[in-house]
Amino acid sequence: MRKVLDEINRSLLIALSILMVLSALLQVFARTIDLNAQFTEELTIFSMMWVTLFGSAYAFGIKKHIAIDILSSSLGAENQKRLAVFIEVVIILFTVLILLIGGGRFVWITFKLGQVSAVMHIPKGWIYLALPVSGLIILFYSILNIIDEVKKA
């Protein structure tokens, strides 16, 4: 389960990074030959937003987000486990409240208002959809992390 999710995430991140770099380079190049390529700016920013959200989801999976772990290192093994589970529960709370409910509502409102991007005229709701979708991935990862923690002898 985790392996499949990791693999999908990694491929997505690789594709998005390449897209982000190429469209930014195209912009520099287009400007030097006076070509109008305004869409590149939007494309670059959108791919960065997706890299941020999906990269974050992946980072939650491998517990790479910056945290202050003084408390944990001062606890015994049993309490360390409890604390790790508690932290995952807080992450789930964040994911459900902010990314799934908040992000979901935000996407819905943006679609309803019919907001489109300035140059490419993409409905912005599609871009923002990364909020709830990455939220779902984080939810999976957090549940998997809790299971791993509980299984740990």
Partner: protein
Amino acid sequence: MDYVEIIILALSFFLLISAGVPITVSLALSSFFTLVLTVIFEASVTTVAQRMINGIDSFTLLAIPFFILAGQIMNSGGIAVRLIDFAKTLVGPLRGGLLSVNILACMLFGAISGSAAAAASAIGSILTNKMEKEGYDKGFTTAVNVTSATTGLLIPPSNVLIVYSLAAGGLSIGALFLAGYIPGILISIVLIIISYVYARKKNYPKGEFWSGSELLRTFVRAFPSLLLLVVVMGGIVMGYFTATEAAAVAVLYTFLLALVYRELSWEKLKKILVDSSITTAIVLLLVATSSSMSWVMSYGNLPQSITAGLLSLTENPIMILIMINIILLLVGVFMDITPAILIFTPIFLPVVQSIGIDPIHFGIIMVLNLCIGLCTPPVGNLLFVGATVANIPFQKVLKYLIPLYIGMIAVLILITLWPQLSLWLPELVGY
């Protein structure tokens, strides 16, 4: 903002981060807890999500992922070895010359790769064994390696300065970059002096003396990497491209360089792209969530309250700068530099601007200050990286760090009191 709200915001944030909850999550949740006191639930969650996405909807911000990626590509190369060889011909003949070589190489590597941790690990892992063989004290060499790695955060291109520019509401990145040179180089010089004094006391060996042609040869080998610094800064300062475009060009340049040196395979490239995406995401999610927190703070006029509160204590600019510096030093002990900049810039910048401090100058003070915290436990990324590559428990490094901390704090005081050290270069170029 009511006192109740300030207390809820500060307390919930503090409790969450001390429990070890990721800082991003703590920022978003404490913003939500504060907002939901006055705004209905649906609007609160939606606002936090919306502020998060708005926080990363920025073209300037793109410089960060590109510099991270360029740095990662650089790391995979033999560039550390080339920079060390070049530094050796310059400062190697000094008493305890390898320490100075470490400092200079760390500064160059940190500037090029944009990552202090990468500098400490790349340069440290090559030099530690060599220095140990020549009788250098491992605790001191690690301390020097760790502190000198911070200079890469001041010398451009530097992602933490870009983060500060954003947190300050969009300062000129070119001006900030230029402002970082002199303070960064000053730190290196002070560290070299301290190492030299220590080396004389311990009678460490001198390195051999290199001829002019050797110097030229090592320079030519290091030149392609050093050229990157010139291209990026030259391009930005001459107004040829924006910081973001410069960063994208840096990616292309390092990529081509790695191809020429035959250091890149598709497998390696895939790993680099994934790793740099994760680093990018960690930094930018902090930017996103802290922008929701700073929105909540300014929604409740918190920065104005803090400004008024601090100014009621004293209106003496020097006293205020000293107070802020002490608070930031304490913050740096417990918090990594990027979240600290994102959280405390919106709080302190209005204060210092109201007493006439230039925001560019304040940015350099803040970054230099928080750099010291990177080398202190209990939260000191650089210290842990440095100790790990040297294979020594970090507790054994602490006593050797003390003279170096003192040197860095001396530079901090100098930079704080003498604005021209930061502002002279940007003004010279016309910012």
